[in-house]
């Protein structure tokens, strides 16, 4: 059972490596991998697809900055944030804006597992934790 899971992870990782070109996830390669899987139907197809989907989603999240904001935020600020993050991670990072009134004012940016926050709610939370 354990070896089966290991084989599934190994195969999914191989598909994922084939989907990346120059450190960037390629939609064409992903489509090709999916077509290959559909045609050849490897053992444990569903499990392999789930593992592959997790890897692709993680990589996709690493290349996308989800910017939560309360109030108006212009696109130039979002572009500046994406540029700064691209520079930080040395890979292209796109942005997705997502309104979040619970922040009261300010921003919260999530890139993969990293979170950057400069919001009133965050500062109040830090104040409550510090007291």
């Amino acid at each position: 059972m354990a070896s089966g899971k290991k084989q599934i992870q190994l195969l999914a990782r191989q598909f994922y490596k084939l989907s990346v070109v120059d450190g960037v996830l390629s939609t064409d390669r992903v489509a090709g991998v999916l077509e290959y899987i559909e045609k050849h139907r490897p053992a444990n197809t569903l499990a392999v697809l789930k593992a592959y989907q997790r890897l692709v989603a993680a990589e996709f999240a690493r290349g996308q900055a989800v910017v939560e904001h309360a109030g108006f935020l212009n696109a130039s600020a979002l572009d500046a944030i994406a540029a700064a993050l691209s520079k930080k991670y040395s890979r292209p990072v796109s942005w997705v804006a997502k309104p979040n009134p619970t922040l009261l004012a300010g921003l919260r940016v999530r890139v993969g597992d990293d979170t950057f926050e400069s919001s009133v709610a965050g500062q109040l939370g830090a104040l409550a934790a510090a007291v």
Binding site: H69, G71, A80, A83, A105, G106, G125, A128, V131
Partner: protein, 183 residues
């Protein structure tokens, strides 16, 4: 000897004149017979009465002597026994006194030890109670502080949610984006 003299005198007096024996009608043969009877009675009495009596008296005297000696010995033994018992009583009293003193000392030591242990336990309980009270106090203060902070934050959030204008939020967002850009 006495009897022969007495008879000779009687014969002489009888031969000379009617003597005293004749006057009183004494007959020598009767006198001899009575003397022999007396001697026989005397011998029988001596054989069966006096001699056993003397032997019994001697035996009794020996027994009395032995009894007196035994009584003296017993008295001496009694005195020795009294002395021994007195010594034993004295020794027992000394031993009893020593045992009582030891018991008193042991009781005092035990009482002191119990008192010290009780005092130690009381101190431990007091210390633990004080620590528990202190911890409880600290926990209560921490809880109160957390609750106050939570209330302050909640109130502040509600006030800010109502009072912050769109312009305030936009300005804050610009400042936040500049801060994040410099990360």
């Amino acid at each position: 000897m006495m009897l022969s003299l007495f008879l000779a005198a009687a014969v002489e007096s009888h031969a000379a004149e009617p003597g005293l024996a004749e006057k009183f009608g004494l007959e020598p043969k009767y006198i001899i017979i009575q003397a022999v009877s007396f001697l026989i009675v005397l011998a029988v009495l001596y054989k069966f009465g006096i001699k056993p009596t003397i032997a019994a008296m001697d035996e009794r005297a020996v027994k009395i002597g032995a009894g007196l000696k035994y009584a003296e010995e017993m008295q001496a033994k009694l005195a020795a026994a009294q002395q021994e018992s007195a010594a034993l009583v004295k020794k027992s009293q000394v031993e009893a006194t020593r045992i009582i003193d030891d018991a008193r000392k042991s009781a005092k030591d035990f009482t002191d030890k119990q008192t010290q242990e009780a005092a130690g336990r009381a101190n431990d309980i007091l210390t633990k109670a004080q620590q528990a009270i202190e911890l409880e106090h600290k926990k209560m203060l921490a809880d109160a502080r957390s609750e106050i902070a939570r209330l302050v934050v909640t109130t502040t959030e509600r006030v800010l949610a109502k009072k912050l204008t769109d312009a305030d939020r936009a300005a804050y967002n610009d400042a936040a984006s500049r801060e994040l850009t410099s990360v």
